[in-house]
Amino acid sequence: MNREKKQAELITEISGVNPLKCMKCGKCSASCPSFEEMDIKPHQFVSYVANENIEALVNSKSLWKCLSCFACVERCPRDVKPGKLIDAARQLVIRQRGQEYLSPDEIPALLDPELPQQLLVSAFRRYRR
């Protein structure tokens, strides 16, 4: 199995998204506040994953432009959740960089009064060892 295929499978596994459910209506892109900043548009995430075009996706600007506001997840009529896909792609990248884990003693250094508590908790949940 080639690497990209594996990665695509990993993304769908992490995100729990079935890209085949997408009917290409574009409501995700239409709802996205970061649309203009993105080189690959939210409605395209799905086809990138479906086509196993993962290299391009993980190297895209979009990967880091998504605000995780989940408007696309909320509005998607087909329950496809492009936001979750891009989030999974990010995790894939982080894991590749060997930064998969976060340990409790690293947390104090990361604390920032401006940072939403929720984000910290979710990050910890996701990246804890």
Partner: protein
């Protein structure tokens, strides 16, 4: 001991590709009672059937097992084939080795093993089958149509024209239905009223059609050919015979604050009202909830102004009980509620409207007298945006999973009409797909684009944001060039998903007609019996069965009528012989069975029996086989096992269980 013949069908490769039919034949031949087993390409074919007939005669078969497709498909075919060859049709059992086996399994060995077991179960059952004789029941030569929209009207007209009596029951004060609310119709743009009204008049004038408006079906009992229906005629408070339809009462009525149902609540109506000018019957009703007289006791203006003396505040609901041979359901549809779709600002802005509301606005008799204007400020719009698929094709619980089918076409119609009448208005349509299968449909849509310059953008809208200046900011994307679109619009029209009339669930329960998860009535067969309900004697007309446009509705209405006529034309119906039967020597006369019978088919009588020499008078259950529909509830309720179901007897089912588990 039976002499059973087993016939295994290849169904081309449908069965034979996954089931080793030769093996099934070989294994079946070992079963007790089996004297003949063979396979054939297509058992249901003429040649296959004659194979069966030949075996019946040559081998003196007393029972048949056909291993083939679902009994729901060809049981009747094989029963008839058996009957032609001189075998009682109820000596035939089907082993469903296609839908329940070859089509769902991939491994040949596994599928073959299962097919053998299914055949074995059917053989075990046939070993206990007994010849059954169907009874007869009469047919009441009158049909009931529930719903007075275009579907109901067309069905009623067709049945009546064929020479049978028809009653239409319509919940609202007038027949006409959704179509009467429409302004123009696609793909020819005729005026809806112009083509509907003559039909309404024809129905009203037809000597064999009776119309019960402002009425509802309350109770249904009986069965195919012999339904008994209670119809509640709600009190109109106006004497139908006296009223001349002059309309003075409506004019003078002081209570004028009730949102008009007909105009989708866009304007108000009086408490005494006819829904629309061409209403049939043209007799108003008093909406007692909003009538001052009924609410406070003081008013009575309408009675005073009515010269015909038709106002009758004392009128009461009336229950009419009628007998029918066939019932056609034509309950139609409504648009879904949009309170779950906040992103389109429907509840926030008066200028975001549904397509059906636009129909009323465009209509000369509508709230704006046909002028296209914003409901917020009455100004004519310059930019109009149409959003498709609002609530349709939706996987979550906010909307409907199906395509509402009519939206693409009516949106093209609206766009075209607006561009035609108001050439300075820009029209943009946001779509996911444009679906226009149908005669002259795609041409129609292309005209909107090519001749009328309607701007079609592929991409669902993400959000509609009402602006402080009253404009509506539509946020979307053009998917074809990956461009963000922020469009300021004056009006936004939502192509709202349609759903079956919510009343249909109640009606389906009364009729014991099955209904799917979307509340559409289920057809007896998706392809081959699309206008019949699985419940005998119940037919489906119009959108209650699935989304349809007018031409399709009218076509189906006619088809439903033909099916109903086919039933009414029969003098007698042969009844299902698979009915309950009580063994008088086992019966305790305890009445438990009668308590669970939904058809009142069980009565009791005192009768002398001879129980192995003991002669005594006993209270015994008696089943009326014309009323019994063969559900079997009584057989389980009966503690002594006296009550049994012919064709699905205790021993037969147990034999199947044993055969499967062995």
């Amino acid at each position: 001991m039976q002499r059973i013949g087993v016939f295994v069908c290849h169904c081309g490769s449908n069965i034979a590709a996954t089931v080793d039919v030769k093996k099934v034949v070989e294994m079946a031949a070992l079963e007790p009672g089996v004297v003949h087993a063979e396979d054939y390409q297509y058992m249901c074919s003429e040649a296959g059937q004659s194979l069966i007939a030949k075996a019946i005669q040559e081998k003196q078969l007393t029972g048949l097992v056909v291993c083939s497709c679902s009994p729901r498909m060809h049981e009747t075919t094989f029963r008839k084939a058996a009957e032609r060859a001189g075998l009682n049709p109820y000596m035939v059992e089907i082993a469903n080795i296609r839908e329940h086996c070859s089509w769902i399994h991939k491994d040949m060995e596994e599928a073959t093993r299962k097919a053998v077991i299914l055949a074995r179960a059917a053989i075990a059952k046939v070993n206990l089958n007994t010849p059954l004789q169907p009874g007869e029941s009469r047919v009441t030569k009158r049909a009931l149509v529930i719903g007075g929209g275009i579907a109901g009207i067309q069905t009623a007209l067709d049945i009546a024209d064929a020479g049978y009596e028809v009653d239409i029951v319509e919940k609202t004060p007038s027949i006409g239905g959704r179509m009467s609310q429409l302004d123009k119709t696609f793909p020819t743009l005729d005026c809806s009223a112009c083509i509907l009204t003559p039909k309404m008049v024809e129905a009203a004038a037809h000597e064999r059609i009776r119309i019960y408006t402002y009425s509802e079906v309350e109770k249904v009992s009986g069965f195919v050919g012999d339904f008994t229906v209670d119809i509640r005629k709600k009190a109109r408070s106006v004497d139908m015979d006296k009223c001349t339809g002059c309309g003075v009462c409506q004019e003078k009525c002081p209570s004028k604050k009730t949102p008009s149902e007909f105009n989708r609540g866009l304007n108000n109506r009086s408490a005494i009202y006819t829904p629309f000018a061409q209403a049939i019957p043209n007799v108003p009703v008093i909406d007692r909830e909003h009538c001052i007289k009924f609410q406070t006791g003081k008013c009575g203006v309408c009675a005073k102004v009515c010269q015909a003396g038709a106002i009758d505040y004392e009128q009461k609901d009336e229950i009419v009980t009628e007998k029918y041979g066939a019932i056609v359901v034509a309950t139609g549809f409504d648009t879904i509620k949009l309170d779950q779709y906040d992103e389109y600002a429907y509840s926030q802005s008066k200028d975001v409207i549904t397509s059906l509301e636009l129909e009323r606005i465009m209509n000369a008799a509508g709230p704006t007298k046909g002028h296209l204007e914003r409901l917020s400020d009455g100004k004519p719009p310059k930019e109009m945006v149409f959003i498709q698929c609002v609530g349709s094709r939706c996987a979550d619980e906010r909307g409907k999973s199906y395509c509402s089918k009519i939206c693409c076409m009516y949106t093209a119609k609206h766009a075209m009409l607006i561009r035609d009448k108001y050439p300075d208005v820009n029209v943009t349509v946001f779509y996911i797909d444009v679906r226009t299968p149908g005669k002259n449909f795609d041409e129609f849509y292309r005209r909107a684009v090519e001749q009328y310059g309607v701007n079609y953008i592929k991409g669902q809208v993400g959000k509609v944001i009402p602006q402080p200046d009253g404009k509506l900011l539509v946020q979307g994307v053009d998917l074809l060039d990956n461009r963000r679109i922020m469009k300021e619009a004056d009006m936004v029209v939502l192509a709202t998903a349609i759903e079956p009339n919510p009343d249909v669930r109640k009606i389906a329960t009364m009729l014991t007609a099955s209904i799917d998860t979307n509340n559409f009535l289920t057809e007896a067969h998706a392809k081959l019996r699309p206008v019949e309900s699985p419940t005998a004697g119940i037919f489906l007309s119009g959108v209650c069965q699935g989304p349809k446009d007018i031409p399709e509705t009218v076509a189906q209405a006619g088809a439903a009528a033909v099916k109903a006529i086919g039933l009414l034309a029969k003098e007698k119906l042969t009844t299902n012989p698979c009915t309950a039967k009580s063994d008088e020597l086992l019966c305790n006369g305890c009445s438990v069975c009668a308590n669970v019978c939904p058809y009142g088919a069980i009565t009791y009588e005192e009768r002398q029996v001879n129980d192995h020499g003991i002669r005594e008078v006993r209270r015994l259950a008696v089943v009326n086989s014309a009323l019994c529909q063969g559900c079997g509830a009584c057989t389980v309720a009966c503690p002594s096992g006296a009550m049994d179901l012919q064709g699905f007897s205790n021993r037969q089912i147990i034999a199947e269980v044993d055969a499967i588990c062995r």
